[in-house]
Symmetry: C2
Subunit: 332 residues, 2 copies
């Protein structure tokens, strides 16, 4: 495959032109261990397919001096093509679940502890440097990178690099940092966790177009790490991200059943502005629920199948700018 | 809601213009009992939503002189938002399953027997006249009516009426009559069974656009039955249908895992011609599997999530024309 990505020389030229003060830049250890997780949700098939493929064809993701390990995180859920067996694996990497040893554990808790021992321990110096966790959504989000911290310069630089490489295809960055909305993800055991979310794709389906987008996101991420390891300095940068504010549930009746559905003017409009007074939901009698907030927000995960049970029709986000100082590898 | 449907007077004018020989027409009993099934597959949510809605708001589907009964056929699967609990409810209405009484039955077999006692017995004079069974697909099939017989004049006339009423929106008719491909559906207990399949919609998701299409298909079907009961004569007609020929599986490796995916030129192209030499699948190394048949066929159910486990990437169909003689109600 031929990818039109920024080569090292172009980046060096960019850096020279920017007149970066090398002394002020962030000095970061080389990236030596990277995991690519698929099947954290067993019915999100692009990541399952890619990880299974790379387990057989590791050359496609090999990078000099880096261990790149593809891994199916929830094999039982993959086998049954369901999101999870007992509980959502992508919500249980909190310290209590990771240390719980009383009696028979739910499958995903036991699996979380196994993953933590293989790729963590979470928060320790032994944890993997980077985990790319591959997900699909039924929402029209396109390629999306999910950050858990607004202050991780390495990850911000990686997002910037992937966005540039993807252009003119869009690649949104979602920041899930808000207490009460943030959750303890599978990838959170890494020093630099990144979620890769690509949609729209139904659960249990593999689409070639979505598969391709996920593949190139991973390859650009690995390219970035390789350039970084080779000593390329990445100049200070800023990126626009969508920061999660709160989740919005569907209107429901007394039984908890949906009493209205996503309005057609909101459906498939992830990342587009939702202005005060815009429709959000419509019921069978034609009645409309309007957005009554005072600020324009940017909905995403609009009509994601897995979030009906989580009482979430979409999440409201706001646009914010994150900045990163220049970074370079301190162990070249 | 305002629907632009052929009113009785227009139909009478049509009939007069056609100079139909009333004596030659088919005389059929009035339609007195109609069931609308939702949730035969618990994660196909348009039908679930509509049936639950109509259970509360029966006036929308009421027709004079007809019992119209909305019914959730697989409530446990609906509750869990899965296709089925033990086995596919839409495949077990064979005589053996319906009469089996040995020991503890799988949930769907027990449910099939219950449904057969409520709306059947299958093949008897006591069976419901019409069952509309509501389904969704992840394939880009639009509105689709599924017939199980090429000789049911009443159903062919109903399809013709719905197609005319839907225009200029398309409404395909799929004929599943081929031995080896046909299966014993939930709706098969009715004298006139019709499957209503609308997509694309992911499993576990309700989209307003798909919901609307399903709603109007049901309403046009009920309108047709009402006009028929009122004595309107429907002149001889023909419709073009897609007759199922055989199913085609994905290329798979030794483990049974997919080794290739639907080619982008076939994805979302349900009902479009697949000509000899056209691509069907593409693997990660770029290798393509081409269609090597000698005749042009018309794929449908392309990349339906539920059919991965049934070893079916799509079904090949051929276009055939069905004809029906004129029909009128013999009990006005």
């Amino acid at each position: 495959m031929s990818i039109n990505s920024p080569a090292g020389e172009e980046l060096s030229a960019l850096i020279a032109a920017a007149g970066v003060n090398m002394a002020a830049s962030g000095s970061i250890p080389a990236i030596r261990r990277v995991a690519i997780f698929g099947g954290t949700h067993g019915n999100e098939l692009s990541g399952v397919f890619l990880v299974k493929h790379w387990l057989k064809h590791g050359g496609e993701i090999a990078r000099p001096g880096v261990e790149v390990r593809p891994f199916i995180t929830n094999p039982k859920a993959v086998e049954k093509c369901v999101r999870y067996i007992d509980t959502d694996l992508n919500r249980v990497f909190d310290s209590q679940s990771l240390s719980d040893d009383v009696g028979k554990l739910p499958y995903e808790i036991a699996q979380a502890q196994k993953i933590n021992s293989l790729f963590g321990p979470k928060g320790s110096k032994d944890a993997y440097d980077v985990i790319l966790d591959l997900h699909n959504t039924t929402a029209h989000m396109g390629a999306t990178l999910i950050l858990e911290s607004s202050t991780d310069d390495f990850n911000i630089q990686m997002c910037k690099y992937i966005q540039k490489s993807m252009a003119p295809l869009p690649c949104a960055v979602l920041l899930i940092e808000q207490p009460g909305v943030k959750y303890e993800t599978t990838r959170s055991i890494a020093k630099h966790p990144i979620g890769v979310e690509v949609g729209p794709q139904p659960q249990g389906v593999i689409r070639a177009d979505i598969l391709y987008i996920m593949k190139i996101v991973v390859q650009y991420a690995l390219d970035f790490m390789q350039y970084f390891n080779e000593g390329i300095e990445f100049p200070p940068c800023s990126i626009e991200v969508y920061r999660v504010l709160e989740k919005i549930d569907y209107p429901r009746d007394d039984n908890g059943d949906l009493s209205a559905v996503i309005h057609p003017t909101l459906q498939d409009q992830d990342w587009k502005p939702l202005n005060p007074g815009d429709p959000m939901f419509i019921a069978m009698d034609g009645s409309i629920t309007y957005y009554e907030g005072e600020e324009t927000v940017y909905p995403t995960f609009v009509n994601e199948a897995a979030y009906y049970e989580k009482k979430q029709a979409f999440v409201k986000t706001e646009k914010v700018t994150l900045t990163a100082q220049s970074i370079h590898c301190n162990s070249v």
